[in-house]
Amino acid sequence: MTEEIIIAGFGGQGVLSMGKIIAYSGLMQDMEVSWMPSYGPEMRGGTANVTVIISSERISSPILRRFDTAIILNQQSLDKFENSVKPGGILIYDGNGITRHPVRKDITIYRIDAAEEASRMKSQKTFNMIVLGGYLKIKPLISIENVVKGLKKSLPERHHKLIPENEAALKRGMEIIRRLN
């Protein structure tokens, strides 16, 4: 089993940390993982993306051209990565601020209005957890328990109190994700 994911959005949306959580969770489930960010000054304000691979075998290249799953959080990234999803793969996007929606027919497209939901829940910071929840609903590769374990590993001790809130967001994400095609 190998799952190759791209998560793309802009800095401040928690793109890199969402990837990190997936990777850590994969580790908890005893899989091979690879997390490869785009890095640099783009981290402040510009676009940010991260490639995450979870696999039951040794991972060869951490750099990919095609992905099983694309998680897209803004227009620019949608434009850039829609065509990078493998035929038969899935694309999940947040509809906030999106004007040109995805058009491909050979992949499965999901929409999750996580930004909206986060501001409704009054916890902007859990935005990326909502998205993650949605993803895990579609691809239940990792159990929620392991995600929580991964969270514990990636968050500093003093933030562990936030974990229940994040768990709630995960679950909320599972609820609100919807298939478009």
Partner: protein, 346 residues
């Protein structure tokens, strides 16, 4: 754990005595991790942010001269600034570890990963006749493992060692098993400057010999050491070479990419194999030479204009055609591109 962090943690665990460095992307996490991990309390390891790369490498010289396990890290432009110091360390035969997390050059270039410092690391970065022992990790695990290996080789041969990584492996996170904490060594090498006791002659750390005949003798001893390293320390990994007709040679990130290429190629029935040099110096000339006779063509895959390809050609010595393929300037070569290129040459 990120590759950079793996290096830092592995250094603490390997019992490193000191780190001296100056921030530069994409490797600042090494210093940052060390500062946060507070190794001074854990093991007594000294960590100091120097005022420049030049100061940092000369701090390494000083610490190494005391027989300590000392390291520095930087990325391409910073490594260029260290060249005089590196040449001094090689000339004075001091063991140390230098990490280069390569980014695209020349000049300020880009902060994205590249492999364009191969020549600098393996041929002549600094002035004079010398060699660094150069290790090229291809995973976060190797980032960690090679720290101890590099220190061991450096001390075994009294020679500076370099880990030649790149921004991709430095920034990438994967599973890594770390060795348990080692005690910092209390052994003092016989040549180290730790204060002249009555029991021994004074120790001098220098690379100077005004008399050219004495200097030549020194160089002949160096040369002998290099021959010994070349005999003993060549390391490489082979993947699917046994039945291969087309050999890819690649190190570091490119080797990872090529591994994927192998899968794609084999899926199409193309018999490709991969030789991954782990030590860039000493380079696996012999092995490539003997493999070459079974191959139809050989492609050196590097993220550069083509540097290691010269060593591959020197190894092959005309037996079969040798080509170079790779992206540049911070663009990471993709597995599919390598396959496409390979197909044009078949």
């Amino acid at each position: 754990m990120k590759g950079n962090e793996a290096i830092a943690e592995a250094a603490i665990r390997a019992g490193a005595d000191a780190y001296f460095g100056y921030p530069i992307t994409p490797q600042s996490e090494i210093l940052e991790y060390l500062m946060a991990a507070n190794p001074h309390e854990r093991t007594g390891m000294v960590v100091l942010q120097a005022e420049s790369e030049v100061a940092a490498i000369n701090m390494v010289y000083g610490g190494a001269g005391c027989g300590k396990k000392v390291m520095t890290s930087s990325s391409s432009p910073g490594i260029s600034l260290k060249q005089e110091g590196i040449s001094y360390i090689a000339g004075a035969q001091l063991p140390c570890l230098i990490v280069n997390v390569v980014r695209g050059g020349p000049g300020l270039g880009t902060i994205q990963p590249a492999q364009s410092d191969y020549f600098q690391a393996v041929k002549g970065g600094g002035h004079g006749d010398y060699h660094l022992i150069v290790l090229a990790p291809a995973s976060v695990q190797e980032m960690a493992d090679f720290v101890e290996l590099a220190f061991d080789l450096a001390f075994k041969y009294r020679n500076p060692a370099m880990i030649l990584s790149d921004g991709a492996i430095g920034q990438m996170m994967e599973k890594v098993y770390l060795k348990p904490q080692k005690q910092r060594s209390t052994e003092v090498p016989a040549w180290a400057t730790t204060g002249k006791t009555k029991e021994r002659e004074r120790n001098i750390i220098t690379s100077l010999d005004l008399d050219p005949y004495a200097q030549e003798q020194h160089l002949l001893r160096l040369q002998e050491k290099y021959r010994e390293i070349e005999r003993n320390e060549v390391r490489f990994e082979e993947i699917m070479v046994d039945d291969a007709e087309f050999l890819l040679v690649a190190y570091g990130t490119s080797a990872r990419v090529c591994q994927k290429t192998l899968q794609l190629a084999r899926a199409e029935g193309i018999k490709a194999g991969l030789l991954r040099p782990i030590t860039l110096y000493p380079f696996p000339y012999e092995r490539i030479r003997s493999l070459a006779s079974h191959m139809k063509i050989i492609v050196s895959v590097e993220m550069s204009m083509g540097q290691m390809v010269e060593d591959v050609k020197l190894a092959v010595n005309g037996q079969v055609p040798v080509y170079h393929f790779g992206r540049m300037g911070g663009v990471i070569t993709e597995p599919e591109e390598v396959l496409e290129y390979l197909k044009t040459k078949i």
